[in-house]
Structures are given as C-alpha cells and as structure tokens.
C-alpha cells in the first residue's frame, strides 16, 4: 500500500475571525501512529475532528482513502465513519447504558450480528482492553481509567482501520496514563490500525509516537519522526519537549 491513508491539503478552519487551522498539509501513512502535540487551545482537537468529519473545514481537503470528506453530507459520512474509531477526551460513554450495552451499541447499529455473536464480540473487545466482569456496571460506577478503556473497547467494536485518540490520558494519573499508552501500542500491533493521537502528554507521545507533529498558531511548527524531533533546534518544539522532561522521569521512577 504505497499511498497514504489520508492526504490533507490546505486544511483551514475558522471560528468567527479566529483562524484555528491555517492551511495544514500532511499525510497519514497506512499503519503509522502520528502524534499531534500542541498546547491547550492550539486547535489540535479541532484538527482531529476534521479527520472523521465531525467538523467541516472552511477550506482545503481531507482525503481519506480516495474520498474527500470535506465535500460530503453528514449522511454520506456514515459509511466512512464506520471505518474510523474515535476515543473521546471524556470517554463519552452513554450514561444511560451499562458497559455491555455501550460496547454493543455500534454492533447493534451496524453489524447485523445476532445477539450471541454480539455478546461474544463485546467480551472479546473488553478483553482486548484488559477488562472483565464489568459488563453490568454503569459508567458512573467506573473509575476514569476504566471508563476510558470501555470507551476504547467501544470504539474498536466495528474493527476500524483507523483510530483517532483525543487526549487519551487527560485527567488520568501517570500510572493509568502509562497503561493507556501500552494499550494503544498493543492494539496497534495486534490489529494493525493506523492511529492519530492528539495529546500534550509527552511521556504518552514518546510511548506511542511513530511520527510527531507540533501544532502552533494553526500550523505545524514541526512534523517528522522522533529522532528528528530530538535533534531539532526549533525553539517551540524544544520548549514543549523539555517542559515535560521532569514529569517523564517521575513516571519512570513510579
């Protein structure tokens, strides 16, 4: 598969007069994990939400596997979104449903599987995120880390070929964050999914990142692999990486 899975050209997004994304150009290759770093409010989550069409760009194109998402209507996007899983910052579990129903939801909606097959698939996905005996619990009764893992299992339910992670470790302690990082890696190696991770958590970025990009002022200040990032003399990138060094040490000790 030589071509990139995503080709993004001139991606622009404005809120009122504020330009959040200012003509981004980048590719996402099959099977890679691209980490998008950026400070809070830098628009990295906005960029991520363009990748499955949750928000429409004001300019440019987002071509996923030959289809430009920018030109599609909401209903036309559905076929594409079934191939793209997304893990939300808050988990976004349906709090009127228990864990089983949450993970079963996309299967019941789209897979056409029978009830026993769905049960089988739900247990398999929960095992994938290292959870068991939680199926009957309500989201409110789960810890933050468990909620994220259930949400991850749900986003994997339809066997997506692409995964979008929106700040997967926000609000979690360093140890749980490390677990989530490991899970992302194990899922990628087991299922071979392509992934984009949006985060400001440098330890997580180092753990999962193949390539890394730094978003600032609506543009990528840097995009490349980790070796280049370490050698780079871009001041913004150095500040961003070094600003978190100490925390990473702490985490390694823990």
């Amino acid at each position: 598969m030589p071509e990139a899975l995503y080709e993004i050209r001139g991606l622009t997004k404005r809120y009122g007069r504020k330009v959040v994304l200012d003509g981004l150009d980048f590719d996402i290759r099959h099977g890679e994990c691209l980490v998008i770093l950026g400070r809070s409010g830098s628009g990295k989550s906005v960029a991520l939400r363009q990748l499955n069409g949750l928000e429409k760009p004001d300019g440019g194109s987002v071509v996923f596997d030959g289809t430009d998402l920018a030109g599609l209507e909401e209903r036309e996007l559905f076929a594409i979104r079934r191939r793209i899983g997304m893990l939300f910052q808050s988990g976004a579990l349906f709090d009127s449903m228990n864990v089983f129903e949450n993970v079963a939801f996309p299967l019941r909606e789209h897979s056409g599987l029978s009830a026993p097959e769905i049960g089988e698939r739900v247990r398999h996905k929960l095992a994938l995120v290292k959870l068991k005996d939680v199926e009957g619990k309500m989201p409110a009764d789960l810890s933050g880390g468990m909620r994220k893992r259930v949400a991850l299992a749900r986003s994997l339910a339809l066997d997506p070929e692409m995964m979008l992670f929106d700040e997967p470790t926000t609000g979690l302690d360093p140890i749980t964050s490390a677990t989530i990082g490991k899970l992302i890696n194990s899922i990628r190696s087991e299922l071979g999914v392509t992934a984009v991770v949006v985060t400001h958590d440098i330890p997580l970025a180092r753990r999962v990142g193949g390539r890394v990009a730094l978003l600032a002022d609506g543009k990528f200040r840097f995009i490349g692999d980790w070796q280049e990032a370490e050698r780079s003399d871009d001041s913004a990138l150095c500040d961003f990486l070094s600003g978190r060094e100490e925390e990473e040490d702490e985490e390694n000790v823990a």
Binding site: R49, N52, L54, E74, R75, L77, F78, A79, R81, R82, I84, G85, M86, F88, Q89, S90, A92, L93, F94, D95, F105, P106, E109, H110, R154, S155, L158
Partner: protein, 250 residues
C-alpha cells in the same frame, strides 16, 4: 435576544423540523425507542395532567355559577365547562404543564449528552442523533400530548360534574345532557389539532435547545430554562392564531 440570534434560532428550528420528519419516515423504524419515550412522556405525565384538568373543570363550574348568579345559568354549566375545556383550557393547560415537564426533560437529557461529547460519539459511530434521540421524542409527543389532552378533558368534565352535583345541586343527568348537547365534532377536533401543534413546538424546541447546548452543567441549566419559557410562549401565541383559524374552519 438580538435579531440575528432570533433568525438563527428560527432557522435552526425549521431545519431540525425538516431533518426530524425526514428521519421519521425513513426506515428502520425503532418502535422500541418510540414506545419507551411514550411511556416516559405520556404515561408518567398522566398524574400531573389529570390534576390540572380536574381542578380546572371544578373551578370553571364554581366560577360560572357564582359569578353569574342570574336565575337559570346553572343549568348551562355543563356546556360552559365542556366547551371551554375541550376547545381551550384542556389543550393549553395540558401543553403548559406537561410541556414544561417533558420539554425541560428533553433539553436536559440531550444537552447533557451534548456537553459530555455523547452526541459527537453517536455521530462518530455513524449514528444520526436526530434519528436516535429527536425522532422518538417527537413521535411520542405527537401521540401522547393529544391523548393526554383528551383524557384531561374527560377528567375535567367529571370534575365539573362533582361540583355541579355536590355544590350546585344539579342532577348528574342534567349536567351530562348539557355537556353532550353542546359539544360537537368541531370542538373536539380543534382541541386535538391544537394539542398536536403544541406537541410539535414543545418537542422541537426541547430537542433543539438540547442539541445546541454549550458550556457544561451551567449551559444545560440555561438551555433547560430557555426551553420552558420558549415552549410556553409558543404555545400561548400559537393558541391565539389556531383559535382564530379553527373558528374560521368550523
């Protein structure tokens, strides 16, 4: 409210209406969800709707008899109570009371889902939030509010009967005869048609405000208040025009 916001909201309500009715007629029909909403919206509102109309019927009977003490007026109490309840007070009061309850519930539920990214999660899983959330609430409202209104009308007339027999010493037969003589198909039809329109306003406003909630728990509170106020205003204003319309038609 600024003109621009007003235009945005009016347009938004119109667009949501279109989307909801399109999604409603497009299969699959999720009858399970519809029935659950009918239970939530209709059955659980029965008590509050009943109390409202029973006491309104009783008050109507009492007020009419006491404020118009001219000889003979009490023999027309049945028609006064029945006409005013069925044409006017039944649909409007039920819409105000039940509408406040169900409209605020819709906004709170959908609004909370919005601010906790659950609406986005639905969309990201290739599910239409309008089909999944708005359509069942709209269908249930359109079915249940007229049903509640009819039940409420009947209870209100019975409330009037209680007052007429116990306080005003009419015989039940006299009262009920007058009720059935005075009511015609136009009265009943216009009452039901009104509550149908009110149900539409309540459901669309409730869902629209929910889907456009921003700003966390605070925002959910504000959106909910807005729904109660806007739904009530729409009910009262549209009632005037509907009344005019139905008098022309009947």
């Amino acid at each position: 409210m600024k003109p621009r916001e007003f235009a945005e909201q009016t347009g938004g309500l119109g667009i949501l209406t279109g989307q909801a009715f399109l999604a409603m007629i497009r299969p699959p029909y999720e009858a399970g969800l519809w029935i659950r909403q009918m239970e939530q919206i209709g059955v659980r509102s029965l008590g509050v709707a009943g109390i409202t109309t029973v006491f309104t019927g009783m008050v109507l009977a009492l007020q009419t008899a006491l404020s118009l003490p001219t000889l003979g007026i009490k023999y027309y109490i049945g028609s006064v109570v029945a006409k005013s309840l069925v044409r006017e007070l039944g649909p409007v009061l039920t819409a105000l009371i039940v509408g406040g309850r169900i409209g605020s519930g819709m906004t709170a539920e959908i609004g909370t889902m919005k601010v906790t990214e659950q609406i986005d999660a639905l969309r990201a899983m290739a599910t239409d939030p309008v089909k999944k959330l708005v359509v069942p609430k709209l269908v249930a409202s359109l079915v249940m509010l007229p049903a509640l209104t009819v039940i409420g009308d009947a209870l209100g007339i019975l409330g009037g009967l209680v007052v007429a027999t116990l306080t005003l010493h009419l015989t039940p037969g006299l009262y009920l005869n007058d009720v059935f003589d005075s009511l015609n198909l136009g009265d009943v039809g216009s009452g039901i048609a009104k509550s149908f329109c009110f149900a539409y306003f309540i459901a669309v406003v409730g869902c629209y405000n929910g889907l456009h909630t921003t700003g966390g728990a605070d925002g959910v509170g504000r959106a909910t208040t807005n729904t109660v106020v806007l739904a009530a205003i729409l009910v009262l204003i549209s009632d005037f025009f509907l009344t005019k319309l139905f008098y022309i038609l009947t």
